[in-house]
Each structure stands twice: as C-alpha cells, then as structure tokens.
Symmetry: C2
Subunit: 103 residues, 2 copies
Amino acid sequence: MSNQFGNKLRELREQQNLLLRQVAPLLDVDTPMLSKIERGERQAKKELVMRLAPILKAKADELLTLWLADQIAALAADEEVGLQAMQVAEAEVKYQKTKKKKK
Amino acid sequence: MSNQFGNKLRELREQQNLLLRQVAPLLDVDTPMLSKIERGERQAKKELVMRLAPILKAKADELLTLWLADQIAALAADEEVGLQAMQVAEAEVKYQKTKKKKK
DNA sequence: TTATATTTGTCATTATTTGGCAAGTCATTA
DNA sequence: TAATGACTTGCCAAATAATGACAAATATAA
C-alpha cells in the first residue's frame, strides 16, 4: 500500500526531532495510535490532520491533500479499471465545481 | 451527489424494457434495494455489478468504471483539495502499476 | 543490563453498512 | 372511485467495520 501521508508525517516529525510520545499527547491520541497512523495502519481523521499541521509546521492543505490522495489511491489501486475510473471521477468533480457549491 | 453508475443502470434497464421487479430477483436483492442502488441511495457491491452486466447487456468493465468513479468522486467532492488529491493519487496508482502486481 | 522509542496484538465499544419488510406515492386503467 | 402496477420511502435488526485503549513485544542505544 501507499501511505504518502504517513510518510510525510514521519518525515516532518523527525525533521523536528519530535518523538511520537511527545506529539501524541498534543493530539489526544496515544503513542501507538500515532505510530499506526504514520505507518498507514490506521486512518487519521480529518480533524486530527488539521491539528497536526501547525505542530509539524506544515500547511494543512498539503497534508490534507496527501491524506485524501491515499484514500483515493486505496480505492483505485485494487481495481483493474482504477485509472479510468479516476478520469471519470475527475470529470465528475470538475463538473460539480462549476455548478455552484451546494453546501 | 453524482451517481453516474446508477443512472447508467436505469438507462440500460429501461432500454431493455425491464422492470425493477424483474431484474431484482435475478440478483437476489429485493425491488426496493435495486431502486435504491439505481438512485444512488445505496452502494452496490462489486459482485452485484458483475452479475448485473450480462443482464443489462453491458460490459462489466464499463459498469465497474462508473461504479468506482462514483466512489472516488464522493471522496474527492467534499474536500477543497479534492482535485489536487486526485492528481497525487493518480501518480501514486500509476507508480504502483509499474512495480509488478503484489496480489 | 537498563532505559527509551516504537511497534504489535488484542479487545471491547461504537459507528456504519446492509438487507429486508411494510407501507407509501404516483400514474394508469377498469 | 376503486383497483392495479411500478416504484419509492421509512424504518429496523443484524452484520460488518472502524475506533481507541491497553499491555506486551521489539528494537535501539547507552
């Protein structure tokens, strides 16, 4: 599997010389949980990603992008038609964007 | 929401002059369930998509593509970074394809 | 060894999904 | 107006999956 998000977390955390047990409490999760998130064994919630960004001095959007990308990739990866489906989905999303936001 | 998959089902079914109550039993689901699937209120399982294809005289791949696309679009649609994430995910999936299937 | 960092495994709880039924609407026909 | 046929809605219990926490197991280092 892919886990660009978790890899980025770890990279940023190590760059900052932070330990799992230092970061985890700031997020109200325990250390094993954060470890699992970094390794892609568990999925972070969006809200956790948001809280993580400032701690790792990263842009929330950047992290969110990787976080979402992993989920999309997981869906597409185990299907033969994965790439085609992504094309169709992309067109779909672009189209929705045009017709005003529906809240 | 989008539901290209369900729309296609309905289109094909009507082209064939088949009724929900005729098709549903062939799939071992009840009529309301098939109705919900067509309207995108419920998600079909992959296996059902496969069984549906011959009944509607469609290519399984074509239906699978729409089916997957809807799921991907649903993920990407409610995020600001949806489109970016799809780009990243696409690169991710393409990359995985190169390094042999890991079954 | 001892100490510290991370990972693994398991588990109960909670949340989400699933499939089905009963009843509903809507349109058409008798 | 009734009755019929096609489809939809609402609801629920059962199955399934996700979540968070903990203890214990591995490193890794001193």
